[in-house]
Amino acid sequence: MNLPPFQALLQEHRADVYRFLVATAGPSEADDAFQETWIAALRAYPRLRRADNLRAWLFRIAQNKSIDAHRARGRRAVPVATVPESASAPPEPDDPSVWGPLRELPTKQRTAVFCRTVLGMPYDELATLLESSEEAARRNVHEGLKRLREELEHD
């Protein structure tokens, strides 16, 4: 099995992984989540049995680190004086309008919407990333976009 040098993977995907994490985990969590993602990938890399679908593999790791960041943020954000309007983690300060609502979506929809819309990821690759069928990947994109649209039109 010939894996490409890890640096090649990093060069090709570092910017997209970082943007994904800023969008889905938030600017203040992105740096940590980025390092956690690549360190986990580097750790597992030599044991990979296939060199196809490296991007899907990487973004699955990034998605998991994004979930960890969400959980950590939720734990830290214990309200003291004010009553929160929702039970989920509070939005990041200075959120660009679309990313706040994106972060409120269920994990798979969040990933699916970003990877499909921003990265133009094909559905078969997205299905590999989400460990789902292509049909389910399509549904996640569709549902996620629908909810986002409702959310944004509501404002």
Binding site: N2, L3, P4, P5, F6, Q7, A8, L10, R14, A15, V17, Y18, R19, V22, A23, P27, A30, D31, F34, Q35, W38, I39, L42, R43, Y45, P46, P96, S97, V98, W99, L102, V113, F114, T117, V118, L145, L148, R149, L152, E153
Partner: protein
């Protein structure tokens, strides 16, 4: 109805891309199997790579492209190859000093574990040839324990993965002609002039 996909794509253009560096953390975690960097030299840019045990590669970038060298390292040493200039600072400094004529011996450790058999013996023997000295293919074959394997010694030197630091340029043909050099014979001449061997 708003075009949410268009809105996402436009917002994505404003997302930051200045991701934090990785090499230092990878090194701390013990995951930096092969660190590499590019070093400028009077012979053109060099790719220099090291494992935690020592140097594994020096290559003339103009002779063999960086991608090819990194792919070879990924295959033969470990796919955990990362650009990490800091870990190569000592060897970069030694190379600078050497090319400026302020250093004769390299102190940087060499990781010999990815070389095997006669090649390894020949290159180890070559590493013993001092600054300003020369040997011959026959001399190196003998020093490696196989005096009659002159051609094989030549092949081993031609495959030297660490030129300059393992000084294969100090091995000449019996009778004094220069012989070949991976990277081009003009580089061999330059190095021998730098060491005062050639006038």
């Amino acid at each position: 109805m708003i075009d949410i996909e268009q809105q996402l794509r436009e917002a994505a253009l404003d997302l930051p891309t200045d991701a934090p560096p990785l090499a230092e953390r990878a090194d701390e975690e013990g995951l930096l199997d092969v660190a590499y960097t590019s070093v400028d030299s009077p012979l053109g840019p060099l790719v220099v790579a090291a494992t935690p045990k020592g140097l594994v590669r020096v290559s003339y970038t103009e002779f063999r492209g960086e991608d090819e060298v990194l792919e070879d390292l990924a295959r033969r040493v470990s796919p955990r190859v990362l650009e990490a200039p800091a870990r190569l600072d000592p060897v970069r400094r030694e190379l600078d000093e050497y090319f400026e004529g302020r250093r004769q011996d390299f102190d940087t450790p060499i990781d010999w574990s990815y070389l095997a058999g006669f090649t390894r013996e020949v290159l180890r023997a070559t590493a013993q040839i001092g600054f300003g000295e020369v040997s011959t293919y026959a001399g190196v074959a003998e020093a490696a324990g196989s005096p009659r394997a002159v051609r094989a010694a030549g092949n081993a030197l031609g495959a030297n993965p660490m030129p300059v630091i393992v000084p294969c340029h100090r091995v000449l043909r019996t009778g004094g002609s220069l012989g070949g050099y991976t990277g081009g014979v003009e580089r061999k001449e330059f190095l021998l002039r730098l060491e005062g061997t050639l006038l």
